[in-house]
Every structure is written in structure tokens, then in C-alpha cells.
Amino acid sequence: MGKILDYILSKRKKSMAEYEENKEAFEKVMGRPSIEISVELPEGCEGQREDFLNLEKEDAFLKDVDKLVKKHLKKKKKMHDKLRKE
């Protein structure tokens, strides 16, 4: 029976893609929001193409990005608070 289900589901890939699309939309609202940014290989680092591509998976780099995001959000908050007081 499970095989029959798999067979039928294999013919309904479009519908399952719609499910995934809906889920992504709900995750965006209900779950923890996330952003995606594209970073280009900086000028002068052309020789480090592979190192650059591996950064995506490096924990140390991701932690640094996390810190950078926090820093920027704190800065934004301070600015908003200051504007509100004024």
C-alpha cells in the first residue's frame, strides 16, 4: 500500500510544491524570520575563490555574521529610540 501511495505522490509533485510554497509563506510569518543576502567575492581576493565559497558553511564566519547583525540591529534601535525622544 505504501508503494501505491509513493507512486501516486510521485505524480503529484506540483501539488506538493504548492504545499511547500504555502509552508514557506507561513514560516515567514509565524516562525523566526530570516533574510537572504548575496555577497560577491571582494575585489583583491580573486585568488581565494574556493575559500570564499566555503564561508557559507563555516561556523566561525556565521557566528561573526550573527554578531554583525546584532550590532546593526542595536544601532538601529538606538537610532529609533533617539528619534522617538526628540
Partner: protein, 424 residues
């Protein structure tokens, strides 16, 4: 005694149903192959002429289907139903019991407007997301949603494709549907959701802190949602009053579809691309098969047999229609069941009353969630669960599916007896 031509048409019918049920070929292709065979044999054996065959297609039904699909597609694109689903989850505030009932009711309500497949893909995605966040087992929510989606829309002319088929064949208007069936459907919503609650109570999980969010964040353009809401109100208002103008529901559906396209500025080509052509062609093909079977005199024979078995009693015909269409719909596509049963009921002279049509509406709608393979909604639910990493035992689905289908059909039988005073 059945003759050779009748046997050929029975075989064509069975072949089509088997091809469709086993999904060896797409649903539409199964019906079109059957249609081709029916036309070829029908014309060559002198069962009907080419002109007769053209008349098998109910163009009004196709118009209604296309119109409704366009209206729903345009309103769905606005994000209106996403907002509704997010509100349904928000009001539960992390309480699994409230969440369960909220999902049950929003599933049935969404099915009033959306196609069953679109509704389940939307509700399951919302339920799956919140289940992951508050760390509860999604299975009870998914399966209950599937059963409620199947139940929702039973009492409206546009609630399901089978309803549109029955509505157009019987001449029951939108208001007739409401007047004969709504009370029964509302009672069924309560009865079935309570049954499901007691069935799944131990698996619903504990209260958790819910996420805080604004449902409107899911929408890019609020104005589009307001427009969609107004379109839906206009659509339903016109459906309530169209019979005063001596026009059919297909005129309302197509008229509102044109207005919706014009008012929202959505690219019509995009909307047309997303219509459910599979269902439209399935119905188109099946018209020829049923039309051919009817021309052989087989359906008239069946009508006479049913009349004999029922002994001419209205009560017996209603019960026979309800249970047979309900049980057959558990195995065969309810669209095929509706297309086959309508000419049979039309043939039972003097007994094709609103009570019998109501029985057929209940039967064809309620049988669709008895087993995992009863309908696309069930298949999609199991597929969505698989995406969540849960391989549900098919027997588990069948257990709850058969239980709720029996409860639904038994209650519908009682409702029909009371609503149409069948005891007298």
C-alpha cells in the same frame, strides 16, 4: 437481459473508472480515452449519432466550473485565505484543544470557497508550521483537516464539483441547496469535529507558548485582500438572488469571474494557466461515457430496478441513494459517481424529489475521506505528512476515515428523514 452493445459500454465505463482510480494515466486522459471509445462504438453500432454525442456535453456546467475556478483563483492570489488561516491559529493561543477545533472549522469553511485540494494544501501547511513551532504531533491535525475539508461545502451549489454536477442536473438552485442542506452540514461540522476530538484527544499535546505574529504580514497588498473579500461577498449575494432574473448560476459565476479579472488587474493568462483543467477534461470526457451508457438504455434499466427494490417508497429510494453513493464514493471518484447517479435518479419517475437529490449530495460528498485512496484530499494529506517526516500507517487513516464516514452517513440519514418528513 443485457445485450452486446450494453456490455461494451459497461466495459468502457469500468475501464475508465479503473484507469482513473489506479492513476495509471492522468484522470483527464482516462476519461478522454473512455470518451473516444464510447463515441466510436456508439456511432458505429448506431447507439447515437454524431449530433447526439455533441449534446452529451453540458456546456452550462462547464461554464459554472470555469467561472467558479476563476473567481476562486483570483481571490486566492490576494492572500485572503492565508490571512484567515493565520487568524485561526492565532486565536488558539497555543492551546492544542482550541487549535484543534479552530483548524477543524477553518478547514471546513475554507472548503466552502476553495477546491478541496487547494484547501488542504493551505491548511496542512499552516497546521504543519504551528505544530513544528509548538512541538506537537501534526498527524491528528492533518487528518482531521482532511476529513473536515471533505465535509465542508456539502451544502452549497459551488462547494464541490459533484455538487455543481448534481445542481445543474436537478435544477436545484443555490438557495435550494442552502434550504435543504445547510442545517445538516452545520450539525455535521460539530458532530464530526467532536468525534475527531475524542478520537485524537490523547495525542493533541500540551499547551505551549504561541508565537506572536501579525497575520497581515503574509500579505503584500492589503487592498488586494479587501478587493477579494468584496468579490466573494458580491459572488455569494448574486448566487442567492440569480433565480429572480431567470438566469443560471453559470451566468453569475462567469459574470463575477470577468469582474474579478477586471477589478484586480491580475494577468488573465496567469489565472487561466492555473485552472484545474484536469477536472474540466475529466468531466468533459465522462459526459460522453455516461451519455453513451444512457443511450443504450442501461441507466433506465437501473432506474427501474431501483424503483422495484425500493418498492416505490420515497424513504427507501432516499436511503438507497445515500448509502450506495456514499459507499461507492469511498472507492470511485465522487465526480464520476455524481455523473453516473444523476441520470439514474432522473429516470426514477415521480421519485426524483429534493429529498433524493439531497441524499445524493450527502452521499457523493461524504464518502470522499473514508480511506487514504478515497480522494485526492486524503492522498495530499498523507503526502504533506511525509514532507514533515511522518510515514503514517495507512490503516490508522482508514480507521478514523471509516469511523467518521459512518457517523456522517448515519447522521445524514437521520437528518434527511426529519428534514423531508420521510416517515410519513
Amino acid at each position: 437481459m443485457i445485450n452486446v452493445v450494453q456490455t461494451i459500454f459497461i466495459l468502457i465505463y469500468i475501464l475508465t473508472v479503473l484507469l482513473a482510480a489506479t492513476e495509471m494515466v492522468p484522470l483527464s486522459l482516462a476519461a478522454l480515452i473512455g470518451a473516444l471509445l464510447a463515441i466510436w462504438f456508439g456511432i458505429n453500432y448506431g447507439v447515437f449519432t454524431y449530433e447526439d454525442a455533441i449534446k452529451f456535453i453540458d456546456i452550462k456546467l462547464i461554464g459554472l466550473l470555469v467561472g467558479v475556478m476563476i473567481v476562486i483563483e483570483v481571490t486566492e492570489r490576494s492572500g485572503l485565505f492565508h490571512v484567515a488561516a493565520l487568524y485561526a491559529i492565532k486565536i488558539a493561543r497555543g492551546d492544542p484543544v482550541k487549535l484543534f477545533f479552530s483548524i477543524c472549522f477553518v478547514s471546513a469553511a475554507a472548503s466552502l470557497f476553495l477546491s478541496d485540494v487547494t484547501a488542504i494544501l493551505l491548511i496542512a501547511a499552516a497546521a504543519g508550521t504551528i505544530a513544528r513551532i509548538i512541538k506537537v504531533d501534526p498527524s491528528p491535525y492533518f487528518i482531521s483537516a482532511a476529513i473536515m475539508v471533505n465535509l465542508g461545502g456539502t451544502s452549497t451549489l459551488i462547494g464541490s464539483v459533484s455538487n455543481m454536477i448534481i445542481g445543474m442536473a436537478s435544477g436545484l438552485s443555490f438557495t435550494d441547496f442552502i434550504s435543504y442542506l445547510t442545517l445538516g452540514e452545520v450539525a455535521l461540522w460539530i458532530l464530526v469535529s467532536v468525534t475527531l476530538y475524542f478520537y485524537y484527544k490523547p495525542r493533541l499535546g500540551e499547551k505551549r507558548t504561541p508565537p506572536t505574529y501579525n497575520p497581515w504580514e503574509s500579505v503584500k497588498d492589503r487592498k488586494a485582500v479587501y478587493k477579494a473579500f468584496i468579490i466573494m461577498i458580491l459572488f455569494f449575494t448574486l448566487l442567492f438572488i440569480y433565480d429572480r432574473w431567470n438566469i443560471g448560476p453559470e451566468a453569475v459565476a462567469l459574470g463575477v469571474a470577468i469582474l474579478a479579472l477586471a477589478a484586480t488587474g491580475v494577468d488573465p493568462a496567469e489565472v487561466f494557466k492555473r485552472l484545474d483543467w484536469e477536472t474540466i477534461f475529466f468531466i468533459g470526457g465522462f459526459f460522453f461515457i455516461v451519455g453513451g451508457v444512457e443511450k443504450t438504455g442501461l441507466l433506465a434499466l437501473l432506474s427501474q430496478e431501483i424503483f422495484k427494490i425500493a418498492g416505490g417508497s420515497q424513504f427507501n429510494v432516499v436511503m438507497l441513494t445515500l448509502w450506495s453513493s456514499g459507499l461507492v464514493s469511498a472507492v470511485v471518484s465522487n465526480i464520476a459517481v455524481a455523473l453516473t447517479f444523476t441520470p439514474i435518479i432522473q429516470g426514477i419517475k415521480g421519485l426524483n424529489s429534493p429529498a433524493v437529490w439531497s441524499a445524493l449530495i450527502f452521499g457523493t460528498n461524504l464518502g470522499g475521506a473514508a480511506t487514504p485512496f478515497s480522494g485526492t484530499v486524503c492522498i495530499m494529506t498523507l503526502g504533506a505528512l511525509k514532507h514533515e517526516g511522518i510515514n503514517l500507517n495507512l490503516a490508522d487513516f482508514t480507521k478514523v476515515g471509516v469511523l467518521t464516514t459512518f457517523v456522517e452517513l448515519a447522521f445524514s440519514a437521520l437528518y434527511l428523514i426529519v428534514r423531508f418528513s420521510l416517515w410519513s
